[in-house]
Symmetry: D2
Subunit: 308 residues, 4 copies
């Protein structure tokens, strides 16, 4: 399968990992989910990310999820999250998933890193571990990792390692970081693909700042697909109209922790997966939360009708 | 002036601190701002909070801001943020502002606290320091303080200290915390007033969960006033309609750090303060950010017209 | 092999993981090291801990290190560190090492935990995952994990889970925690074994406070063995004499990060392992550091001669 | 009084703040303590540091402690800690204490700083706030502040701001940082004075690496004075002999939190201050701790006699 490159664009949906109510992997739902994401406009997938409950899987299960997803995804590129406490596990999983046909791997910095030098050194070790022929996505998500990476540090890392082809951008605030990176490219810096996370909560602005698309897992991937498409067509008010219709639910799904339960509830409701079950430990939804979600979905549906 | 109580309700606007371009306090703008907040529906004010640039003020300036605000606020209760690294400074400022007529003080936990016992012990020290006759607002804002306070710990603190009359609720996610506290009250726990922060980003749901109002600083206080009023009238779809119209800008203003620049820009544009200037260190807005804000305001205006 | 119990006592040495200069596992040195530790007075071993470079091993290597260590250790109980980002990996490794004959597993809390409830909930999940028949060591090491566990929380966890038989104590300061736990036992709380870490830097005081021994990896295990023995004999001044002779090097080896390089340097020098090599990323020693260590060893040798 | 410079050397004792049992400032003990420190070999003092309970003082009390200390210190230079959450308070206190005759001010970074750029920017703001004529000590204490400052970042800051004349060095591990800074000076970097903290726990090695002395508060300042003097004379084994005699107590006093209680207990016992009382919140010593300290002091006394 084709690798991701510094020119990759569009919507890479952060996939959930489907489980049965028993907690076992739901293999059939992997197929259904891949089809669903493709139908709703995904250009690629990212699996085994933080929102994919990756740490709850054994290594064998991680490989199996990758194998099954790749088999179903066909030509759609699949990035695999391989963040791990140590380089050995990271390298081992990378080797396995690239052999299976992954399009690249995604690596977040361990939360112990602080200084610019430590961050730069970490990605040097990562590239040496996985090999220079493996495309790497650098995940910049300070809210979750606690690691703040300045634009300057990102530029040093990108210059040093051509195999780091993509930034998963989810700094918050992060709009100026996109502008600064794109500005640097006009001054000779290497281009990288920038796909944005944060549940898509700033996607219209991110596209106008120069992002190449989205890499996030909102349960309505068509929102991201439409916002990216309209933005690329220069139809920014229309992009914002679509975005605004979904924003109340985006906001609700973006809540840390419980957000994954919301996402799985909606995906199950939409038929993308068989069950909203999470592996332990995972927060469920009570009646009050479900009522809130249903109200938001009903309103979203009505609002989208006015846009049609 | 009347003190806040465990029955206080409505919208307490988190006030900014107005500065001249020179960095000096803008005393005239304090008056103008107080009037503006009152006109837009504020039931009370909270000054010298994190978003009020309190740490950038000298102690004398803090007193002066309090004095001027109170003089203009008339019967509108004013809560004063007194969080400090040590109890001595906290107690000294509390004494000064209560003498001036403040309605209560707000205290966030220092970021060094970790265990439940440490948090409970801290608020015991606070109450002993300020005295049991001073109404205290407990600010629960883990995203900023790093301190996570469980519902159970909040209940222990509230039971122990009747003078802690209000929770400034800005845990994220935090909806269930409201439900749990209200449920506990049906089982005999002491009632506290719950006013919600987080830029109002979950205000409709918070009101339905049992909150008494908002304590936050979004630059359109009429949003909070209307959402709170409609919610209290049981008109939840209408409340959500109002909320949705403002949400794109709420989201933009809620960005950490730069959010205050956004808020001051809008307040200055609306005539509430003379200048958007922040004291150093404070992020400014560049042309790209201003264009984004202006687009959001224009869209918000159009959307509100459809609701009228 | 016998399992650890709440009555386990003595010195469990935190073993390093020996590598060749190439970075490959040094299987022969595992044997040599096990023999060395036994000769120097170890009552048990703990492998795959933080100082054992566990995150740098693949899962297969972790199993292999366990297998080889167990084969050589004979009747000496071996605890295996199984801390992992997720319960699935933790459970999988636990099953594997217990099948191989481990005496128990050690689990540190993930650094995301904050409130008492979260910590209590985590160990409930751990016990459910590994099964109630697997002896668990709770590692309380706030300096490294960032998680502070109060004595009260420890007691709740110990009462709830009889299979958590041991506390690896390395809070700092931590002396009063030992006294408080022992005091609680006189009031009816369940007894747990308390073995102390922190490179042994407070071992004489810890023994007097009621600890059962040490679980740490100082490169002179005979220090721990002698201090524990003399303390148990009530010869506290003699215990402190031994301790004081080693303290300058204990202090030097206790430096975060570089401490492991110091430990491996000394172990290699003493013939316990073939090489001081660490897997990447691992800090090496420069000439200045080596000169400091050699000076400390020379002085330690002279000092011990005066005690003989 | 003379200002500190980049050539300052010797022992600057971190002074405690003496309180009466009532919690009031003990003015008389300030005089006694200053005399005690001078008699025991202090070349200077540092007041209102983290171990000086500075956050427990009101602003007026901070000024009063400074005034009284300066009046008694005579020609001995006194550095004043002015770290504060905001620049306004920092600047205000700096102005006041420099007017009173302080030799310089010490500033630790706020714990919110992460990237190199943020740290560099912070000290630029500090220098602009206090003015370029005020000598500044940069306190590098990651264990307490959570801020890691690389050698490279320190060099950028020192080059940019000639008024930052001194590094209070208490990184841990930190020996190589001294070597690297001194090496950089041989390559043309500006020299700064390096005085070391961490309770003196690495003072012999720090002196050999190129430190200019100590800035810490161990209750036996004569230890630091003698180690510094002997080191400067090249008598490194003798310096280490002195150090080793005190190390068991240094270690005990270095415990976070409770360490200050230990220090004040010993200082009161030695007659340097009237009471070991701390202001709330402050940990006291129970009988077990006192017994441990007394045993350590008795052993220390015997050991020192063998050196005489």
């Amino acid at each position: 399968m084709a690798h991701i490159t510094s020119s990759s664009r569009g919507v890479f949906v952060i996939a959930v990992t489907p489980f049965l109510e028993t907690g076992a992997l739901d293999h059939d739902s992997i197929d259904r989910m891949v089809d669903f994401y493709a139908e709703k406009g995904a250009d690629g997938l990212t699996i085994l990310g933080m929102m994919g409950e990756a740490p709850k899987l054994t290594q064998a299960e991680s490989i199996e999820v990758t194998r099954r997803t790749l088999a179903r995804a066909g030509n759609m590129p699949v990035v695999v999250g391989v963040s791990a406490p140590g380089l050995a596990a990271l390298g081992e999983l990378t080797g396995a998933v690239m052999d299976l046909g992954a399009a690249g791997v995604m690596v977040a910095p361990p939360s112990s890193l602080r200084t610019d030098e430590q961050i730069i050194g970490y990605y040097r070790n990562v590239v040496e571990t996985v090999g220079k022929d493996v495309p790497v996505v650098l995940q910049d998500f300070p809210l979750s990792t606690g690691v703040q990476i300045s634009t300057k540090t990102l530029r040093v890392i990108f210059e040093a390692h051509p195999s780091i082809v993509m930034l998963k951008h989810e700094d918050w605030p992060g709009l100026q970081k996109i502008s600064d990176l794109r500005q640097a490219e006009t001054e000779g810096s290497r281009r990288v693909s920038i796909l944005c996370g944060n549940a898509g909560a700033f996607l219209p602005e991110e596209m106008r700042r120069g992002a190449d698309g989205a890499m996030t897992g909102f349960a309505y991937p068509e929102m991201m697909a439409n916002v990216v498409r309209l933005s690329n067509e220069g139809r920014h008010e229309a992009a914002q109209d679509v975005f605004d219709a979904y924003l109340p639910l985006v906001r609700y799904e973006q809540q840390p922790g419980i957000g994954l339960a919301v996402r799985k509830y909606v995906l199950a409701k939409r038929g993308a997966i068989g069950s909203a079950a999470q592996r332990r430990p995972g927060a469920g939804l009570n009646a009050a939360a479900i009522a809130e979600i249903e109200m938001l979905i009903a309103r979203q549906t009505r609002r989208l009708e006015t846009l049609a």
